[in-house]
C-alpha cells in the first residue's frame, strides 16, 4: 500500500489515545475499512492512533443483566465468545456473517459501527437489540441508543474527539429467539440487505418483536411498523409475511450496481420473513 505520509502512535493507555484523538488524530482499529481507503488515497489522515491494541477496549463481560463489549473486540471474538453465544447469540451470529475469516480476525465491532457503512452487518443486530453505545472523549462520556447513533451513510452521533468505547446489549430472556439473515454482495460480502429479528413468545402470543434492517437505506433502522404488526399476534405464517412486507414500506432504498432500490425492497421483505421464521423457530 502506498498511502500519503502519516504519523503513527500506538499508545499504551486509552487516556493517551483519547488525548491524541482530541487533538485531531484518527483512531485506527482493525484497519479493515480505513487502510483500504488510505491505500486508494481516499483518506489521508495525518496521524493515526492505534486503538486496536488497547486491552482496555478488549473485553466481553456481563454486568447487571447486560453484556458489555469493548469496542476493540474483533468480529472473530464476538463470533466465538461463549458468553455471547449463550446470552446474546444474535450478535455472534451476525459477526459470523461479516466478510471472510481474515477480515473477522482483524476488524472490530467499534470500527465497524464508527465507520457506519450503510451495508455493514452489525447495525442490523444492534438496532434489533436496542443496544446502547458508549462514546468517550478525553473529558467526556455519554451513552446513546443505537437508534440515535446511526445517522446516515457514514455519519454517526460521534463528535470530533470521541470514540466508541463500549457496546451494551441485553442478555436475552429465556424464551427469546433471534436470527440474522442476509444476502451478501458477491464481491465484498457486505449486506445487500440484512435483517436481524428478535422475538419472544409468551402465552402463545408474540410478546416482543424487534427487527433491525441494514443495507436497505442510507442508515440502519428498526422496522417499528412491522414490529407492531407482529406483537400480540400468534405469529402465524400469514402474520409473519404480512409483517415482513411492512419492513421496506416508505423507505427510500439504496440503489447501486448490485441491486436496484426496487429489488432491495423486495429482498428486505423476503429476508425479514426468513429472519422472523428462524427467530420464531428458536423461541422456546
Amino acid at each position: 500500500m502506498i498511502p500519503q505520509t502519516f504519523d503513527y502512535t500506538a499508545p499504551a493507555t486509552l487516556d493517551q489515545a483519547l488525548a491524541l484523538i482530541a487533538q485531531g488524530a484518527k483512531p485506527l482499529a482493525g484497519g479493515m475499512s480505513l487502510i483500504p481507503m488510505m491505500k486508494l488515497r481516499l483518506a489521508a489522515p495525518e496521524h493515526l492512533v492505534d486503538i486496536g491494541r488497547l486491552k482496555e477496549l478488549n473485553y466481553i463481560r456481563e454486568d447487571a443483566g447486560a453484556l458489555h463489549l469493548g469496542a476493540g473486540c474483533t468480529h472473530y471474538e464476538v463470533e466465538t465468545s461463549p458468553l455471547l453465544r449463550g446470552k446474546c447469540p444474535l450478535l455472534s451470529e451476525t459477526a459470523a456473517h461479516i466478510g471472510d475469516v481474515q477480515v473477522r480476525n482483524m476488524g472490530t465491532i467499534g470500527g465497524s459501527i464508527a465507520h457506519a457503512d450503510p451495508s455493514a452487518d452489525y447495525p442490523a443486530a444492534l438496532q434489533a437489540l436496542e443496544a446502547k453505545i458508549v462514546l468517550r472523549g478525553a473529558q467526556s462520556q455519554r451513552t446513546v441508543a443505537a437508534s440515535a447513533f446511526f445517522l446516515d451513510t457514514f455519519a454517526t452521533a460521534l463528535e470530533p474527539g470521541e470514540i466508541v468505547s463500549e457496546i451494551i446489549v441485553p442478555v436475552e430472556e429465556a424464551g427469546a429467539g433471534a436470527s440474522y439473515q442476509k444476502m451478501a454482495q458477491p464481491a465484498s460480502g457486505f449486506a445487500i440487505v440484512g435483517v436481524a429479528a428478535r422475538l419472544r413468545r409468551s402465552g402463545g402470543k408474540i410478546a416482543m418483536a424487534r427487527i433491525g434492517v441494514t443495507g436497505l437505506a442510507g442508515r440502519s433502522f428498526r422496522a417499528t411498523a412491522a414490529e407492531k404488526a407482529l406483537e400480540n399476534t400468534a405469529g402465524s405464517a400469514a402474520e409473519i409475511q404480512a409483517a415482513a412486507a411492512l419492513v421496506a414500506q416508505g423507505v427510500e432504498a439504496n440503489s447501486d450496481l448490485h441491486a436496484s432500490a426496487e429489488y432491495r425492497k423486495h429482498l428486505a421483505a423476503v429476508y425479514a420473513g426468513r429472519a422472523l421464521f428462524a427467530a420464531l423457530a428458536r423461541t422456546a
Binding site: 502506498i2 500519503q4 486508494l40 444476502m183 464481491a187 465484498s188 450496481l257 448490485h258 423486495h266
Partner: protein
Amino acid sequence: MATTITRPKTLIGKAIRRREDPRLITGTATYVEDIKMPGMHYAVVVRSPHAAAKIRSIDTSKAAARPGVVAIFTGQDVSKVGPVPCGASLPGLRVPNHTILATDRVYYAGHPVAVVVATDRYIAADAADDVEVDWEVLKAVADPLKALEPGAPAVHPQWPDNKAFDFHQEHGDIDKAFAEADVIVKQRILSQRLIPTPMETRGVVAEWRAADRALNLYSSTQIPHLLRSMVAQMLGLEENRLRVVAPEVGGGFGCKLNVYAEEALMGFVAMKINKPVKWIETRRENYLTTIHGRGHVDDYELSAKRDGTITGIKLRIIQDLGAYHQLLTPAIPTLSVLMMPGLYKTQNIFADIVGVFTNCVPTDAYRGAGRPEATHGIERMVDILAAELKMDPAEIRLKNFVQPNEFPFPTATGLIYDSGDYAAPLKKALDIAEYEKLRREQSESRKQGRLMGIGMSAYGEICAFGPSPATPAGGWESATVKIEPSGKVTVLTGTSPHGQGEETTFAQIAADELGVDIDDVLVVHGDTALVQYGIGTFGSRATAVGGTAVYFALQDLKAKIKKFGAMLLNSDDVTLANGQCIDNKTGASKSVQEIAAASYRAMQLPPNTEPGMVSTHFWEPPNFTFPFGAHLVVTEVDRDTGAVKVVRYIAVDDCGNILNPLIVTGQVHGGVAQGIGQALYEQAVYDEAGQLITGELMDYAVPKAHMLPWIESDHTVTPTPVNPLGVKGVGEAGTIGCSPAVVNSVVDALSPLGVKHIDMPMTPEKIWKLIRSAQ
C-alpha cells in the same frame, strides 16, 4: 558395475505433487516485487481520469520540486520509443498509433500520460498526485453497440464509424441450408467484459548496464522471449542486449500474454536515469489498464431439420475492442469463428465480425480467448433448438456430433479436428449424474413449485497453438535438456509456465525417459539469457508443444547416451533402460550419470560425436489439438430472491493422455471457477462516460471458494496423434465448458416459466425480474 535397478517408467500418469508448491505456499517465491537492487528507483504512472479528453498542457513543476523526485517523463519525452505492438493482422485492419504515453489525447480512463520516478515509491506516488494536467474533456463511448450508431462520439477522430475491421468467413451453402430448414432459431447472446484478475498484478524492474549497453528487464509476463524481441524493437535496442526474466508469475490467464506500455517505459526510464527502476501495478491500475477479456455481442441463427440435425450456423459478432489493439486484440474474435461449429458436423457456416473501438481498455486473450464465446454461443443455441423441437438436450447433441470414425475431420471453418469420441464424455457425465433419475427428480420438484435445472454443454476447443503458419509469432516450442557432469538433469523450456505446473510435468517426462530420479531434474524457464528461445505459455500449449519439444530433445540425448555407453562398454549392442545403458551380450552396464561424466571428460569420443551431454530441440507441431468434454450442472433457483445455487457440477474432460492427474484436475477446477465467475458473478461495468465502476475487488465479484460448488471431475482419454505424448491441453477447458452448462441449467430451471435465454452474469436480481415478469 552390474547393479540392477528396477525402476520402471512410472512417473507419467501419476499424481505427483507439484514441485513448485512449497515455495508458493510458504511465501518464499520471488516475484517481480521481491526483486531488490542497490540504488533502485521507483516509478508511478500518472493516468487519465477521463475516458476521452484532449491534453491542453501538463504541468510537472510541482511534482518535480518534491525532494526525492529524480525524473518525470511525458509523451513528448518518449516520442522516439516505438508503439505498443499489435501482432495480429487482418485485411483492412485499422491500427491506431499506440504510443507508450499519451501525447495530445487520451482514449480510455487509465491511459498513461506521464511517469514519475523517485527514490522511493511513496515519494513517487505523492509526486504523481502533483502532476497537473489541463484536460479538455470530450464525449466518450463505452458501449460497442452505441459506438456503432451514427453520430456516436468517435473514439479515434480519424475513424468516425468506430470500426476497426470487418471480417467475413463462410463455407458450404448457407442460403440453401436456411431455405430448406424445418426450423430456424435465433438469439442474441452476450459474453460480457471480464477482468482477468491474476493474484499478482503486473510489475516491471528494469536495470540498465550502461557499460555493457545491456538492459535487464524483469517482468511478470507469460512470453519472455517475444517480449524481448518486441521491447528491443520499441527501444531501438539489439535484442541480444536485452535480457527478459519472468520470475515467479502469479497468474496470467492470458492477460500477461502481451506487451504493455509500461514494459518499454521502464526500459526507457532505466536507460535515462542509469539506475534500476521498479514499477508495480496497483490492483486499481490492473483493473483499469491491463487487458480485459470477452466483450461480445453475438447474433446467432441456427437452421435445422425436424429430427434435430443442425444444417447451418450464422453468426454476427460485435467485438468490443476497447481503444487500442494490444498484442492479439483483433485476432481473438476470429478464434470464435474458427470454433463456431463446436463438436457438430454441419458444413454450412456464415460469420461476420465487426471490431468496434470503444473508450475502454483493450480486450484481448483471457482464459479461453475466443473459444468460450464460441462454445457459449453454440451450446446455448443447441439448447434453444432442443427446446424448440422439444428434444432432450443430450439427444440432440449426440445426434449432431462428429463421429469417432470421421477423424481427422475437416470443419467448415478450415480446421482439421485431430481425434475424438465426443459422445463418450457426455455419456459418462450423464451416467455419473444418473441423468434419467435426475430428470424424474426434477419433475417431482417442479410439482412442488421448485425451480431445479439440469444443463449440459459439450465443448470442443482448439489448443496447442499452433502450427507456425497459423500463429503470428511462430507456433513451435523449444527445449534444451542437459545432463550436467554430476549427472543432474536440467530442462530448459521456452514455454514460460506461470502456475500450470510444468516444473513437475516436464520433470516427470525427463525422469521417465532418462530413468533418473525426479528430484535430480530441474526445470528452468522464463529467462532469455538462460533459455535458448521460446514462444511462451498460452492457448493450452505448454505441455502439448513445449512438453513435446522436451520429449524430442530427450530422444536426441538418449541416442547420444547410447553412443557413449556403447563406447564405454565396448559393445555394439546396448539398451538404455531405467537409467542404465546395458550391454545386451554381457549384461554389463553404465549408469546415465557415469556416461554423462565421461562425455564431459571426453578422454575418448564415439565416432562423429561431440563432447558433452546437451541437446536442443525446436518442435513444430503439424496441427492444433482439439480437446473436448462435457459438463453437466444441476442448479436450484431461489424463487423468492432469484439466487442461483449450483447443486452439482460434473466435468468430464478429454485432454488426451494425462501426464499428472493432480495437475489436470487442478486446471479443471480453476477453469470451472472462472467459468462460474462469468456465468454468475463477474462483469466489468463502464458507465456512459467510460468510467470503470467495477474498479476494485469491492465491486468486481471474483468468486471465492465458498461461492463454488464441489466439482466432480472425471475424464475420458482420447490421445492425439499430433504429438508423441498424445496430450492435448487442459488449461482452458474448464472455463470453456463451464459457462454454457451453467446457463443452460438455469434456463432449464426457469423454462416452466417460459424463460428461453438469460445473459451472463446471471445475477439474482436479473433472475428475480424474469421470475416476476413470468408471474
